[in-house]
Symmetry: C2
Subunit: 407 residues, 2 copies
């Protein structure tokens, strides 16, 4: 037997013991919105995460949503009034925000084409510059278009985020500009007449240790102060990055965001003078929406082969690559999973849950204990709200698409 992942405690059973999402019993949801597979995103969970962030964090820290985590349009519209801005990683993401009241938008990404820079500069959003060459291209394009460019500098800091699932600082990197070259670039931008918007300093993602985040945020604020001093310019804004992780697997402890918030309050109170009027922001994707999403897929076959039981579903890695262990994981571990109509039941048997693709890679849960399930039952895979459908090879084997709903 292998362990299954941790089901977020936001989910509950109805009086019949069946899983509910929002006010819907999963089976009713699937009949209404069907057919499966379906990604259901619970807006109440997203709203609760945002409220918890607001309560835990200093009042003057802005919250941005990182669109890359989940660009589903109804979700973007739901989030818009609750956050202070959006961070995008492509012009495609900007287009997805069309018609959404976005307040502020900033755009990061290591290989922005001229076309992407032009679109960004035209629309007046902040471009986080990833290199000196990109800065020169942006300045030249802005001049040609006669717009004053809004430009921030993405910094490659000399430290990383400890214990991060993905480290993005303290190393040679395609992202951002090595910190020691940043002040010169800031001067160049200001001297060229750009609207210099400040710094973007992103050190890693998917961290669960409050201490590591606290230390990184402290170091980030100190670094922003030093860079500002060296450049002799106060940054209007500093994006402290994100990095707030969610628990997926046994042993993962949820992040103590209240501790992070309390420490950040102190760090900001003691911040360098150059940052006195700076607007700080935190950019979150996974932490806001990851636990709100459930991937629902129906059992098509219940099959015993050489003594082992397989539940074969109408879904698979083409919708939910991360659950198959093929997206950024070194070791495959089971995502949290449940048999939706038997959410309250005790496990009865050991099963392996697969998708419908004709490849052994298409494994959704390996040797987990679950209540007895039959053909037609819906399997729920949790933690599917971030880096789920949009991070999956949807065309693989030309299978039917999944639908997405916000409940």
């Amino acid at each position: 037997m292998k362990a299954a992942g941790l089901i977020p405690n936001d989910f509950h059973a109805d009086s019949d013991g069946a899983l509910t999402i929002g006010r819907w019993r999963v089976e009713a949801l699937a009949s209404e919105e069907g057919p499966t597979p379906i990604f259901a995103y619970d807006s109440a969970i997203v709203a609760a995460r945002i409220a918890r962030f607001r309560k835990a964090m200093p009042e003057d820290v802005a919250l941005h949503y990182a669109v890359k985590a989940n660009p589903f349009a109804p979700l973007l519209r739901f989030i818009a009034p609750l956050v202070d801005g959006f961070d995008i990683a492509s012009i495609g993401e900007l287009e997805r925000l069309h018609g959404v009241d976005t307040k502020a938008i900033s755009f990061a990404g290591p290989a922005k084409s001229d076309a992407a820079l032009e679109a960004a500069l035209c629309s007046g959003i902040t471009v986080n510059l990833e290199s000196e060459q990109e800065a020169e291209r942006a300045l030249a394009l802005a001049e040609r278009m006669s717009v004053r460019p809004s430009l921030a500098v993405r910094v490659n800091p000399p430290f990383g985020l400890k214990g991060a699932g993905m480290k993005m600082g303290g190393l040679a990197s395609p992202f951002g500009i090595d910190h020691d070259r940043v002040p010169a670039l800031v001067r160049r931008l200001i001297d060229a007449g750009a609207d210099w918007r400040g710094f973007h300093i992103f050190c890693g993602s998917q961290a669960l240790q409050a201490e590591a985040l606290i230390e990184t945020q402290r170091a980030t604020i100190a670094l922003a102060g030093e860079l500002a001093n060296e450049a002799a310019a106060s940054p209007p804004a500093v994006n402290l990055g994100g990095g707030f992780g969610i628990p997926y697997f046994p042993g993962d402890q949820p992040l103590d965001i209240e501790a992070v918030g309390a420490a950040l309050r102190e760090s900001l109170r003691d911040r360098p003078q150059q940052l006195e009027t700076t607007q700080f922001s935190i950019e979150l994707g996974r932490w806001l929406v990851g636990e709100a999403g459930v991937y629902l897929t129906r059992i098509v076959e219940r099959k015993v082969s050489r003594g082992r039981t397989f539940l074969i579903t109408d879904g698979g890695l083409h919708h939910m690559l991360a659950a198959s262990g093929n997206f950024g994981q070194l070791l495959r571990r089971n995502y949290p999973i449940a048999i939706a109509p038997k959410f309250s039941d005790e496990p009865e048997e050991e099963v392996t849950v697969t998708g419908c693709l004709c490849t052994p890679l298409d494994l959704l849960a390996d040797s987990v204990r679950l209540p007895r399930a039959d053909v037609g039952d819906i399997v729920a895979i949790f933690c599917a709200g971030a880096y789920g459908l949009s991070a999956s090879p949807i065309s693989f084997l030309s299978q039917p698409a999944a639908r997405e709903i916000l409940v």
Copy 2:
């Protein structure tokens, strides 16, 4: 420094030392068909692989193309007259074959929905049954539709393909029916009046050792004979599976397909009597098209960070997930790579090649030695013809799509 993968020796430079694909210099191809990123598939390489198969294999062994490897429509149309049939893994793949002269089609896949079975039975293709329940569903649906179903039995054999990149036999499996239960199912199909088409026995994929394939094919033929004897019925056809691998990485030796063919000739000469009139087929995807494809992506940034040089391109894992090491690989290894305009040049520097996505996962080649490359140069990533674009998360970060061309 880390090693780069093996460039297929089908590719050559022109007199200026630039990479050519078909009769095109890559830069000319990109100007004509642009913009990058582009997947270019060289039809001459595909044709050469098919010709080599025909020469190496016994004349009466049929060749089927496994659409899942690459479902690009012009490629399917090109392959159609050169092969004896197609194997599909979804009704979506059947739809992609619309208008293609396909001769024979068979359909395998572990969770065929009733809708998929209906579509398959209607169109008269052979359905490879993966379980007894699926058999009953297919029989019932065929009766309801008043069609005589063409049904083969996919066998889960008691042996696997040694050294396969992906093993699919000898284990408990969601694929096929455990061999000891197969004869009873064959009787059931025949007694129900179905057009029983024979067996499909697939043991694994991406094998490079001729000996392993020879042994597996021998065992497969013997097993087909035993099952036929037990069922007291001669199979009209036996699909011996595929499993022919291609070299990707240093140390990989190309498969000696001539040795496989010679041994198969012997095995078929000595085959059990029950198989005397059986049509044998081999189903290949990767071996036919994998080395024919090149992913072409242009350098947008050349960047030095903390002493390391990054070439940042307009492509990435959203088009070519396998090259990033995130599709079925336990350990990340570099795919074969070249700077297209300097294909003949000696390497001059160590670089890391990344895509344009704002994630450290988006690594195309880690610390490889290449000729000096600059912004605007096209990077070629080889072995991109199978499980490339269709096996990648194309929506991830909402970046522009890649285009595909057959040259």
